[in-house]
């Protein structure tokens, strides 16, 4: 699941595209803004870019053009992140967006591709089963058998098409792709050429080609990037929401959506959501909200996405087994489960947190008792 965490409510979600798809591509949903930017943009554009780097940054960060056109912010977060990402693409280095679930990696990657190349559809969705064909090329076997190897029989991958046309290719979940397939990207990125030995030909990248990859940096057990591949990328880490309010807002909104689809009663609970977010943020940052007590950080990610699932889990408990109101005892087990991943170290961190922070906090006695009970 990818939550456009730090992205605001999108107009796209409000107005369905004419064709009636669930979610139109960024370049369609924001066509008007892109056109307005392109019209006003008088700065130097790198070859095959639709906009100048400055205009791309403005498209993502929002602003008002001299003629009064309002560009909605696509990414609400540190300016620096977007500026580094755009500058990376401008130096034709590949861009790796890292972050825990719920930090809008995919969202940023899609909008970058839409703004730079006007096309965000050259996409490889990485899975453990992604074959080499999806980053290089495959064959139309019927044609291959009938006519022998030819360019007509070749099925280009999104990456190959991006090279040939000078576009931005996107690779989602790079770390889920098997290591040997990842390796295929190494020479492609450094030599900017893709040989096709079967035909004695090659595809050379034209200016404007670039690649944006996204990956989750806290998940263990996936195919870690080799250092050789890592060196081909400039890395930008997308931070978690900066303020508690932002995060509470995101969690509340998502919980509301999920709750509706699961037909759960949405009975207030904002205060409990605030507490869950506070617990997550404090443990994640390793310091209490008042900045006075340092805490051990547990090994789990404690991402915004997990906070959402703790709250929805609690809601389900409250609806089906409780009195329909979200109470600390509905959250306690979920909280403990999200925090304690490693039985020894995390358990100590969790207990310390309960004893030194939760117990002392005004009005948190009920949560403390519930968590102590859940801890057994």
């Amino acid at each position: 699941m990818t939550v456009p965490a730090t992205a605001p409510d999108t107009p796209a979600a409000a107005e369905p595209a004419p064709g009636g798809v669930l979610r139109p591509h960024a370049e369609e949903a924001f066509a008007a803004e892109l056109a307005a930017l392109a019209a006003r943009d008088d700065r130097r554009r790198p070859p095959n870019w639709r906009l100048s780097p400055w205009a791309v940054a403005t498209y993502l960060l929002g602003g008002t053009l001299p003629d009064g056109t309002v560009i909605t912010p696509k990414y609400v977060g540190p300016r620096r992140v977007v500026e580094v990402a755009v500058a990376t693409l401008a130096t034709d280095r590949a861009l790796l967006l890292l972050g825990v679930p719920g930090t809008a990696k995919t969202w940023v990657s899609e909008h970058l591709a839409a703004a730079v190349s006007g096309d965000s559809t050259l996409l490889v969705q990485g899975t453990a089963g992604t074959p080499e064909e999806s980053v290089r090329y495959g064959w139309d076997y019927a044609r291959l058998l009938a006519r022998g190897p030819s360019r007509q029989a070749l099925v280009p991958s999104p990456v190959m098409r991006a090279m040939a046309e000078g576009m931005t290719a996107r690779v989602e979940e790079l770390t889920r792709i098997p290591a040997d397939v990842q390796d295929g990207l190494i020479t492609l990125l450094s030599e900017k050429t893709l040989p096709i030995p079967e035909l004695g030909q090659e595809v050379q990248a034209v200016p404007g080609f670039n690649l944006i990859a996204t990956a989750n940096d806290r998940d263990r057990g996936v195919n870690d990037l080799s250092s050789a591949l890592r060196r081909r990328f400039n890395t930008v880490v997308l931070p978690l929401p900066a303020t508690p309010e932002e995060e509470v807002d995101i969690v509340a909104r998502r919980v509301g959506q999920i709750g509706r689809s699961l037909d759960l009663p949405s009975s207030g609970g904002l205060e409990e959501i605030r507490r869950v977010v506070t617990v997550f943020r404090e443990l994640r940052e390793g310091v209490s909200a008042d900045g006075r007590t340092r805490l051990k950080s547990p090994s789990g990610t404690l991402s915004t996405a997990e906070a959402i699932s703790v709250v929805t889990g609690g809601l389900a408990l409250a609806a089906h087994f409780g009195d329909g109101v979200l109470r600390p005892r509905d959250l306690a087990a979920g909280l403990r489960g999200a925090v304690v991943r490693d039985q020894a170290a995390d358990r100590a961190a969790w207990q310390e947190y309960l004893e030194t922070v939760v117990r002392e906090r005004e009005g948190w006695k009920d949560l403390y008792r519930a968590c102590r009970e859940a801890d057994g």
Binding site: V84, N234, T235, T293, A348
Partner: protein, 770 residues
């Protein structure tokens, strides 16, 4: 040209420094005037001395109170420093022209305000920031960045004097709009600068050069009647001052507090000033070098990419050249995999940097030395080369002050006094020192001058810095103790919070437990020395809580040696917890922890036995529970080694276990019964442990135990009261017991009349628990 050459600069701006050097070379003025306190004039020639290495600071302090002082720091890239060195190298006269520090310090005394060096270079928040105003006019948010773009990063091309003229005009426009910008004292300073400038022009001609903050340029260019300036400065209060050079560090230059002109990136500025060309490329190479030293692989290709990214970022942000922000972002994205951790190292070592200034040997004594001399005189504690022993009674004010002085000096690395072993049992209000003054200590004092102007201030600063840099929890706990001993109330909160931070992150219960006793001790010292220890008590309680949480898991699966070490720790923590103040919540938790330890099978016998013993001594066991638990621990199913460990933990060593066995014969019977049931081969294995346990008893106890056991299992195993041991009556002799009571009341200070029933109660209680 006519009129003086006014060179407006930003303090500590490398671009300004470079521009000043170019302008001086071009104009070749007959004299150079620099913004700074005239008290430093006599010290100016030292700036060119052999051993002088910036960063250094000119220090002026009130003669009678070194604590009241002002600093004018100079780095190699400070325009003022460049101007001074330029003048000294050519034999051109150079002078400071600012308002004398004598007035500044006197004014601060009158206002009762904290004195910082800000008087000279300050830009307080409430004032108009001229650079901010200019930057906003140019459409930039960040004044520092704007200034860097237009001045500091500008190449050295064209007329070296032109930029100063342009800057002067801009500042004139600003001053017209903002007047004195909310700095009333500037009027005095500028009047003094104008008068000095006038005198210099009479002496050296019109072409003298002035290096001052850009803000002051319009005021110096203005013509004001001499009389008006004189009138303004007439009758200003002043104090007697002394001045000197002190070594400075880049880190202190970067300190934003106290010094208005603090720069956040002295290392970067130093680099910009010294790099002959291609500053970004050279910087990236240095960063790569540092990261490689720290064990990261950084390829030359990455250095190239980082430079390209920094340039592209500058373009996206619309800056003429990549600045520190761009280079940092580029380093993070290319060399650090987007992580901030290695970046912190770069910020610490390169952006700020470890540069330490030096001052020549023959420079006037640092104020710290003067303060020390003053204290030595006042406390009648003369530095003598012959060693002697000093007995201090901390209840006397003079002795307490002496003790604080010696402790503070130790913190500063000036080991004039060493704590010596005092007479046995002297209590907490006595201290014994062996004091000896060695010549090299003077050097140490001079070195410590960088930390502050008085012993107290320097020791505080040093303690805070050490606490932040300390590697282990143990060290910080030691610092807390030293701060308390030295009476450094200012440093204590910072050190204590550093301690709390470290304790929170340390996952080794052993280290936490080791730190706790020192803290508990500190709390008691604090009481003796009347220090406010609330924060310390909080930290200690927090530490104890963490120990309580972490101890049970840490006690499982230990080998014999580790178990012995852990037992010693538990003893130490037990004592420490007893010393902690508060409502007893922590103590309650500690008893729960001990109870848990005593009952858990995976915990080594030695620790279980110890926990049981502590519970027993604390009166936390019900009647008969000790015997039941011992029976359980020594039952046949328990491996003999475990059981022997339990006995060692329960009754071993110097903890009075022998007496316990002697007086509770049920326990002795259990031990005896167990010993008799150990199979022969296992007996050899547990013998060393048992021997260790029982050999530590006092001879008398051992003999009595032996006699008791010698009568055989029947005698040992009988119920109390059946047959007394040698030397004891058949039952309690009430009359003889009563005869002791008056003496007891006298000793305990209890009221005799009220003690009747209470005494009886105690008696019952003793029976119940014993």
């Amino acid at each position: 040209m006519t009129g003086p050459l006014l060179l407006g600069v930003r303090h500590h701006g490398p671009g300004s420094a470079r521009a000043v050097r170019a302008a001086l070379d071009a104009a070749d003025p007959p004299a150079v005037l620099v913004e700074g306190p005239p008290e430093g004039d006599a010290l100016l020639p030292l700036a060119a001395a052999e051993g002088m290495r910036p960063p250094v600071a000119l220090l002026v302090h009130a003669a009678n109170d070194p604590g009241r002082s002002a600093f004018w720091p100079f780095a190699a890239f400070s325009p003022e420093w460049v101007a001074i060195r330029w003048a000294l190298a050519r034999g051109v006269p150079v002078r400071f022209v600012d308002l004398p520090a004598a007035h500044l310090l006197a004014a601060d005394e009158a206002a009762g305000a904290e004195v910082g060096g800000g008087g000279a270079h300050g830009r307080e928040a409430a004032r108009i920031d001229p650079l901010r105003a200019l930057a906003h006019a140019a459409g930039h948010d960040d004044p520092e960045r704007w200034w860097e773009d237009v001045v500091e990063h500008r190449g050295a091309a064209g007329d070296p004097l032109a930029p100063f003229a342009a800057l002067g005009e801009a500042m004139s426009a600003l001053r017209e709009a903002h007047g004195d910008g909310g700095r009333p004292r500037d009027a005095l300073r500028e009047a003094h600068m104008r008068l000095s400038l006038r005198a210099a022009r009479r002496e050296f001609g019109d072409a003298v050069a002035v290096v001052c903050g850009a803000w002051h340029v319009p005021a110096l260019a203005r013509t004001v009647p001499v009389g008006a300036d004189r009138a303004l400065l007439k009758g200003l209060p002043r104090v007697r001052t002394e001045a000197g050079w002190v070594p400075w560090t880049h880190r202190r230059l970067a300190r934003s507090s106290g010094y208005g002109a603090g720069v956040t990136s002295p290392g970067w500025y130093g680099h910009l000033f010294t790099a002959p060309d291609r500053p970004v490329e050279r910087w990236m190479t240095r960063v790569a070098g540092l990261l490689r030293e720290e064990g990261r692989t950084v390829s030359p290709a990455e250095v190239i990419e980082a430079v390209r990214l920094a340039d592209a970022l500058a373009a996206v942000r619309g800056r003429p050249l990549a600045g520190l922000g761009e280079t940092t972002d580029a380093v993070r994205a290319v060399m650090c995999d987007g992580s901030d951790l290695p970046l912190r190292l770069v910020a610490d070592r390169l952006v700020v940097g470890d540069v330490l200034g030096e001052v020549p040997e023959d420079a006037p004594a640092v104020p710290l030395q003067r303060d020390l001399t003053r204290l030595q005189r006042r406390l009648r504690l003369r530095p003598e080369a012959a060693g002697r022993t000093l007995e201090l009674d901390l209840r006397r004010d003079n002795d307490a002050a002496r003790s604080r002085l010696l402790h503070r000096l130790r913190l500063l690395g000036v080991d004039w006094g060493e704590p010596a072993a005092g007479r046995a049992g002297t209590g907490t209000f006595r201290e014994t020192w062996s004091v000896r003054w060695r010549p090299e200590l003077s050097v140490k004092v001079a070195e410590a001058g960088v930390w502050g102007t008085t012993v107290e201030e320097a020791a505080s600063a040093r303690a805070v810095a050490s606490a932040r840099a300390a590697a282990s929890l143990h060290q910080v706990a030691g610092l807390v103790e030293q701060c308390l001993l030295g009476g450094l109330a200012d440093a204590l909160p910072v050190v204590v919070s550093a301690l709390a931070d470290r304790a929170a992150l340390d996952s080794d219960v052993g280290r936490l437990a080791d730190a706790l006793p020192a803290l508990a001790r500190s709390l008691r010292y604090g009481d003796v020395r009347a220090t406010d220890t609330a924060a310390l008590a909080r930290a200690a309680t927090g530490l104890a809580e963490r120990v309580c949480v972490g101890l049970p898991p840490a006690c499982t699966g230990l080998g014999a040696e580790a178990a012995a070490a852990m037992r010693a720790r538990i003893d130490a923590v037990h004592t420490a917890v007893g010393l902690l103040p508060g409502e007893g919540g922590t103590t309650g938790r500690w008893w729960t922890v001990l109870r848990g330890l005593a009952a858990r099978d995976t915990v080594p016998g030695e620790i279980r036995g110890r926990a049981f013993r502590l519970l027993l001594d604390g009166g936390h066991l019900a009647e008969g529970e000790a015997a039941r638990a011992m029976a359980l621990a020594l039952s046949r199913a328990a491996p003999p080694a475990e059981a022997a460990g339990w006995i060692e933990g329960f009754a071993g060593g110097a903890s009075g276990g022998g007496l316990l066995l002697l007086h509770d014969e049920r326990l002795l019977a259990l031990v005896d019964g167990w010993l008799a049931s150990v199979p022969p081969d296992a007996f050899t294995a547990v013998l060393p442990l048992l021997r260790r346990t029982f050999a530590a008893y006092e001879a008398g106890v051992r003999r009595s135990l032996g006699e008791l056991v010698g009568r055989g299992p029947a005698a040992v195993g009988r119920t109390p009261g059946a047959l007394p041991p040698d030397g004891f009556g058949a039952s309690t002799d009430a009359d003889r017991a009563d005869a002791v009571l008056p003496v007891l009341h006298l000793l305990l200070g209890t009221d005799r009349t009220a003690a009747g029933p209470a005494g009886a109660g105690h008696h019952e209680h003793a029976e119940a628990t014993g």
